[in-house]
């Protein structure tokens, strides 16, 4: 965790940095970093860097940020963790660099001095960083390959303001509040805001796996240095046939390495344990790696008692199997209601998810943890979602419509008229969108369908937002270069869209709400690069079996074969029961009994977060 803040008055006409403004942005992120704060200003007062610290590595004052190089020519404000910092440090020491602290931050400074922007390829971890380079008179801004750590910037044409959260930037009165219809439409289509958009026109996300230079004429176009689809493509092009007998060992080795790296910390690290395969395997792998005294936490809800959604029973079995210090915490509707105000205050951008992570992070922090591991990303890596099965099928069946102009739309109009109201609105779009991966993905993940937006948002916002969003073009980018096989296409979409914009964003702000750092060992570019060739060569069907077979102490069958669940929260039940949360019923479409709870919840979130749409 930690919070990064920066103001760079790059234009000659721009006024010098207002120190109070920088402090305001920085301190809006106090929950990201309650352990300390710092600031740095250039001598001409045109650049200011700020930082809020959550101490994880080198807890001493030596780790305080912003941190400067010994010669003062490089200053950094950094959020995240570099798991392989010790190896890089050794390398830099051999080049003659002398270190003053035991932090990964200082490693970044000298790595930048040594390699410049090429430094990013050497890093294993999650990060968002801002570096001021006094020699080049340029600012270097970068984000980790998957986009685990967020970074937003608002450029008004004279001054660029940077922060780890949108709300921090909005604490500055100088940042425009003008709404971005593309961000709003994105939320209603997908349940989260697709980067680089936010719900504010002037505030943009630096895309995942990208870096950007800012000089005296402003921010340059971000440069992408990593993409998931290119890893898949490269794996197919370069990897020779791997001996199938080697695959389990190499898979195990890669997974253990990732888990080992994600335990690098000077404070205890816990695990969020659901009864699903991913978090259970994380715990199993951690124990296999010899890590002891692991604290695990599971949430339970009365509403799910004696149903398949109840995580508590199986999670306790897994905890018992691997010998973790386990806690099951029961959450009631009243607790949910009590948390609502802080929940929406800390939600950075509208999201229809996040309650699960918010609640489990709160419990983890209350139990004294500063760092917790999550099984997030396992489904994207090992094909855990139904989308891996459904999307290729739909595309195969519906492809003819894709090549017949107007046929899909005509079919939709017909189905809209003919289909009973109780059937999902997505059904009508199957012919229109089902014939391409991007279209089928929208059908699978979509919250509302494009033709429903006008009724929710009004004509102007819906049309303008849809146009500016360019959804299919953006989804197409997740598939460029072409990952070639069906599995990798869906994996690229799920990782670059749903995971990046929804799951990782939620893990960030919801963990931040309680000053808890959430680490995700399955979301690791180095791991992906290692296992992609194995997946190609694997004779068996790509599935979670590749993961479960890596465990020396295997999971019981009723867990490894369990249908996908994972940290469910009974928001639907709570919404129905609570009068205060039934504002959505003002909207005729959402008042229908057939309206899915997630649509109603989206409406509540938008009311809370986007003021008037």
């Amino acid at each position: 965790m930690c919070g990064v803040a920066a103001i760079y008055a790059y234009h000659y006409a721009a006024l010098e940095v207002d120190r109070e403004e920088l402090r305001g942005i920085r301190d809006r992120m106090v929950r990201r970093g309650p352990d300390g704060c710092g600031e740095w200003f250039s001598t001409d007062q045109k650049i200011g860097l700020g930082h809020r610290r959550l101490s994880i590595l080198d807890l001493s004052e030596k780790g305080a940020q912003p941190m400067s190089s010994a010669d003062g020519t490089v200053v950094i404000s950094f959020n995240g963790e570099i798991y392989n910092y010790q190896e890089i440090r050794k390398q830099l020491e051999s080049e003659g660099y002398v270190f003053r602290s035991g932090t990964d931050t200082e490693v970044l400074i000298y790595l930048y001095q040594s390699k410049g922007e090429a430094m990013l390829r050497a890093l294993r971890g999650m990060f968002a960083l801002v570096i001021w380079d006094e020699r080049q008179k340029k600012m270097f801004v970068a984000r980790d390959p998957y986009g685990i750590k967020p970074l937003y910037y608002a450029d008004d044409g004279w001054t660029v303001r940077i922060a780890s959260s949108v709300k921090a930037l909005l604490s500055s009165p100088k940042v425009s509040r003008l709404k971005e219809p593309a961000g709003i439409v994105s939320f209603f289509l997908l349940g989260s805001v697709l980067e680089p958009f936010t719900t504010y026109q002037e505030i943009r996300a630096l895309p995942a796996g990208s870096f950007m230079w800012i000089d005296s004429i402003g921010p340059s176009i971000p440069v992408q240095y990593f993409s998931i689809s290119s890893v898949f493509k490269e794996a197919q092009e370069k990897s020779g046939k791997i001996n199938p007998r080697e695959i389990p060992d190499r898979m195990r080795e890669a997974l253990l390495e990732s888990v080992r790296y994600h335990f690098v910390s000077d404070v205890p690290v816990g695990i969020f344990l659901s009864s699903g395969v991913d978090s259970s395997c994380l715990l199993g792998l951690a124990r296999q790696e010899g890590i002891k005294d692991i604290q695990t936490i599971t949430l339970a809800f009365n509403e799910f008692k004696n149903t398949l959604d109840d995580e508590s029973v199986l999670a306790e079995k897994v905890a018992g199997l691997y010998g973790s210090k386990h806690s099951t915490v029961w959450i009631s509707r009243d607790q949910f209601k009590k948390e609502m105000s802080l929940f929406f205050d800390t939600m950075d951008q509208p999201s229809i998810d996040g309650m699960n992570t918010y609640l489990v992070s709160k419990i983890a922090r209350e139990k004294g943890l500063k760092v917790a591991l999550s099984g997030l990303g396992g489904d994207e890596l090992f094909g855990g979602y139904p989308s891996f099965r459904d999307i290729p099928r739909w595309v195969s069946f519906m492809r003819p419509f894709h090549f017949l102009p107007g046929a899909g739309a005509a079919a939709r109009y017909a189905l809209q008229l003919a289909a009973p109201k109780s059937i999902s609105p997505k059904f009508a779009g199957i012919a229109e969108y089902g014939g391409s991966y991007a279209g089928a993905y929208l059908l699978k993940r979509g919250l509302f369908m494009p033709w429903e937006l006008e009724k929710i948002l009004g004509k102007e916002t819906a049309r303008e937002g849809w146009k500016r969003l360019g959804l299919f073009k953006r989804l197409g980018r997740a598939l460029t270069p072409d990952p070639r096989n069906d599995f990798f296409k869906v994996a690229s979409l799920e990782s670059s869209v749903y995971m990046r914009n929804q799951l990782l964003r939620d893990a960030d702000w919801a963990g931040m709400a309680h000053s808890l750092e959430i680490r995700v060992p399955f979301v690791d570019a180095a791991l992906l690069k290692k296992i992609a060739p194995l997946m190609i060569s694997s004779a068996q069907k790509l599935s979670k079996r590749l993961l479960t077979e890596s465990l020396s102490n295997p999971l019981p069958d009723n867990i490894s074969a369990r249908k996908k669940s994972g940290f469910q929260v009974p928001v639907g039940e709570w919404l129905s029961a609570d009068q205060e949360l039934r504002r959505c019923e003002d909207n005729a479409r959402l008042a229908q009994s057939s309206a899915h709870w997630s649509r109603r919840w989206a409406y509540e979130v938008s009311e809370q977060l986007t003021e008037k749409i």
């Binding site: 234009h11 000659y12 006409a13 006024l15 450029d155 008004d156 044409g157 004279w158 425009s176 003008l178 026109q201 002037e202 943009r204 005296s216 004429i217 402003g218 921010p219 340059s220 176009i221 971000p222 146009k467 500016r468 360019g470």
Partner: protein, 364 residues
């Protein structure tokens, strides 16, 4: 670099856009003698000043069809060109046709209200092809990006610049005498008095003049410029009984413009439609107190209040209060205004050219 400039007006033109084009084209010409510029203007009279050696401005052509053919002919006969400079958003369809025909990247300048509202679909589409969009102010950039989906990284701000001839100086006795301003406190506004520019705030000052006169009996309001709105404003002054206190100077020759500023105490233009407002820079450079609005590009010229006074242009009470404050206190907020001088402007034009070349390879 060889540049074809398509402009509404530049050398010999009148008003802020013409001035901006002159400054920018001169800066482009000044980047090196190897640069060659051919300027095709739609309006504007003959120019008596010196043109840069490597810049040629052809006779203006008002008819848009002939102008388009002339542009095409120039590209065919005087090329090859490296850049098309499009001096107005409404000329982007022509620029884009030429750009696509001859594979020459173009940059376009946007100023004020012309770029604040969503234009026709043709213009909206055309501007997407531009390699670089140069906005006169942050406000115009923001407004432009609210309707255009051009990548924000390709939209840069290049503010107006101010000429060195605008410096503080004694009140010019001849002009004081000519307009009968001896012993008077003078409020000033300079504009084209176009009937399309009623947003500049003349009406508001005329309306509060009676109240100001009560506190400053010797106060006068000097309106400089000549255009279709003059008659209406004269009638308005009559309506408020201010005919004696509101003085219309008519159009002023460029050479005596600095002295016009120097004869005043406060420059006040509570406008709601400025792309930037170069007159603010000129007034500050001549040592005047300056008051502008907070709802348009004026805030750039006034450096968010550090280079002048910013008021809500819709609030007569606030305008009145600030005018009184400026008349009572002579301290001028000019310390930071020198950042708008030519050197910074020229340096940025040079950097934008580099950026233009870079963006030319990335244009969608």
């Amino acid at each position: 670099m060889k540049i074809l400039a398509l402009v509404t007006d530049a050398f010999g033109g009148y008003g802020g856009i013409a001035q901006y084009n002159r400054d920018l084209l001169t800066a482009l010409a000044g980047m090196g003698q190897q640069n060659r510029l051919i300027v095709l203007s739609r309006t504007g009279g003959s120019y008596s000043g010196d043109l840069p050696n490597n810049l040629v401005q052809e006779a203006s052509i008002h008819n848009e069809i002939i102008y388009s053919f002339k542009s095409l002919w120039t590209l065919l006969t005087k090329g090859p060109f490296d850049m098309i400079y499009c001096g107005h958003i409404f000329m982007t369809p022509l620029a884009v046709v030429l750009s696509l025909l001859f594979r020459i990247p173009f940059w376009v300048c946007i100023y004020g209200i012309d770029a604040w509202q969503k234009p026709s679909r043709l213009v909206e589409w055309s501007i997407r092809i531009a390699s670089l969009v140069v906005s006169i102010s942050r406000h115009t950039r923001r407004k432009f990006l609210s309707w255009s989906d051009v990548d924000p990284h390709r939209v840069r701000v290049l503010p107006c610049t101010v000429d060195k001839k605008f410096t503080p100086g004694p009140k010019p006795a001849d002009l004081i005498k000519k307009y009968g301003l001896e012993g008077k406190k003078v409020l000033l506004i300079i504009s084209r008095l176009s009937s399309d520019e009623k947003y500049k705030g003349h009406d508001k000052i005329i309306e509060i003049m009676p109240a100001l006169i009560k506190k400053y009996p010797d106060l006068v309001y000097v309106i400089t410029g000549e255009g279709g709105d003059r008659e209406r404003l004269q009638k308005l002054a009559e309506k408020y009984g201010m005919s004696e206190k509101v003085i219309f100077t008519g159009k002023i020759a460029d050479e005596i413009l600095p002295d016009i500023y120097r004869m005043a105490d406060v420059f006040v233009m509570p406008s709601t439609g400025e792309g930037f407002g170069v007159v603010f820079l000129e007034a500050v450079a001549c040592g005047l107190q300056v008051i502008g609005g907070n709802q348009d590009g004026s805030t750039d010229a006034l450096l968010d209040g550090e280079g002048g006074w910013i008021v809500d242009p819709e609030s007569l009470d606030e305008i009145k209060k600030v005018i009184i404050e400026t008349l009572d206190h002579s301290k001028v907020r000019t310390a930071k205004a020198n950042r708008f001088y030519k050197q910074n402007f020229n340096d940025l034009v040079s950097q934008l050219c580099d950026k233009f070349r870079e963006c030319s390879h990335e244009t969608p």
